[in-house]
Symmetry: C2
Subunit: 222 residues, 2 copies
Amino acid sequence: MISAPAPEEFNDRQNEVLASALRLVVEGGEKALTTAALARAANCSKESLYRWFGDRDGLLAAIVAHQAAKVRVPHESAERMTADAFRARLVTFAEDLLTVLAGETSLALNRLAISQTSREGAALGRLLLDRGRGRIAERARDLLRAGQAQGHIACDDMTEAYRTLYGLIVRDQHGRWLLGESPDGARDGFAAHARTAIDQFLTLYRATGTPRDQENTPAGAL
Amino acid sequence: MISAPAPEEFNDRQNEVLASALRLVVEGGEKALTTAALARAANCSKESLYRWFGDRDGLLAAIVAHQAAKVRVPHESAERMTADAFRARLVTFAEDLLTVLAGETSLALNRLAISQTSREGAALGRLLLDRGRGRIAERARDLLRAGQAQGHIACDDMTEAYRTLYGLIVRDQHGRWLLGESPDGARDGFAAHARTAIDQFLTLYRATGTPRDQENTPAGAL
DNA sequence: GTGCAGCCGAACCGTACGGTACGGTACACA
DNA sequence: TGTGTACCGTACCGTACGGTTCGGCTGCAC
């Protein structure tokens, strides 16, 4: 069981320690994060670690929460956009998404949460899902909603549309990266692929009366 | 370092033990797979485990190799297809892909390989990538190539086309499942979503002279 | 000053796990 | 019948790690 996911904030010293912890995880994976190693790296005592975070699971949760807390999604203002501006905003979103997912911090945290799953609870995964991807999805849905309101795209289910958008942007790359393939090779092509993906997305969801648009609403999708 | 990824086959007894090992991993994650627990579950001695698989890493590699070895992709015959038959074959592929990825064995193995990544090597991830996803991708590319040869779709880069197909089918679901979200809710919608995804794919890649088709060939994609 | 709280660093404890060694059994083969 | 091989089950060893305790230092309240 994971101790309370800490809705309360941590103080400066504690955040500093969490930053050290995150660095350990990024560099050496979960097994590099021993309490002794963290105490040494952060110049603090194990006693303090246990006082602040409860136990090791609490520490893991705090690391994820700490990092998730600094996810700051740029607010997508809903002001009037031309079709090109809308497209440009989507391309920017796509580039941002790929950049985040390819980042070693994101990858390390995802690996950490995934390896903690399976054991009943999956609290870390939920945390990452809600506070990480959730925020990003929210931003994208706002943007899509604005595009829909202004007639740039036609769709009734923003969540469905977002999932399609995500799929076109990310494809199988996140999985490959998680399994150890280096994102470096792909990183050069982020901008180019972002444009391609958005073109594809707009082809599917463009509002110019393409007859297939009604089909893009499957039934029981989670 | 992981001992030789065993190109040689294992005998029946060893395969039996590997099946037990896989069951342990599926049920309890990596940390449930202790040598003692496996010896007990498989009614074998720890001594035999070390004789057969070298060390724990070798055992993990053997588990992955063992499971990957039974990936049998139905051969996609390239005989003449109508457009509808081609579409149906794609839908079947999509359903198969979702069913495999949502399976607890696949999820457990992916979690195992992902949690082993980060530490230099990532041999398990490579194994899974090559012998798991690779086979599936190969099957899909064969099918796409046949469709292309018979004029059902237009694209010059099968790998790019396959990645788009994968993205449209899987979207963000694999990641969510890996993080602990239950596939059960989505499972009912597999068939419906498979059809939707294939419709979208065909919209993008249909050969009927849609002018956007040339754009589907980004530059530096990995 | 005295007392107290928070913290560091190090020593300590218990245990779980990877890996090894050994005794005992079944079976093949001569 | 003797010898060897492969195996099981168990006991064993060493260590690494989670978690606790303690002594000592600093700073603050009074």
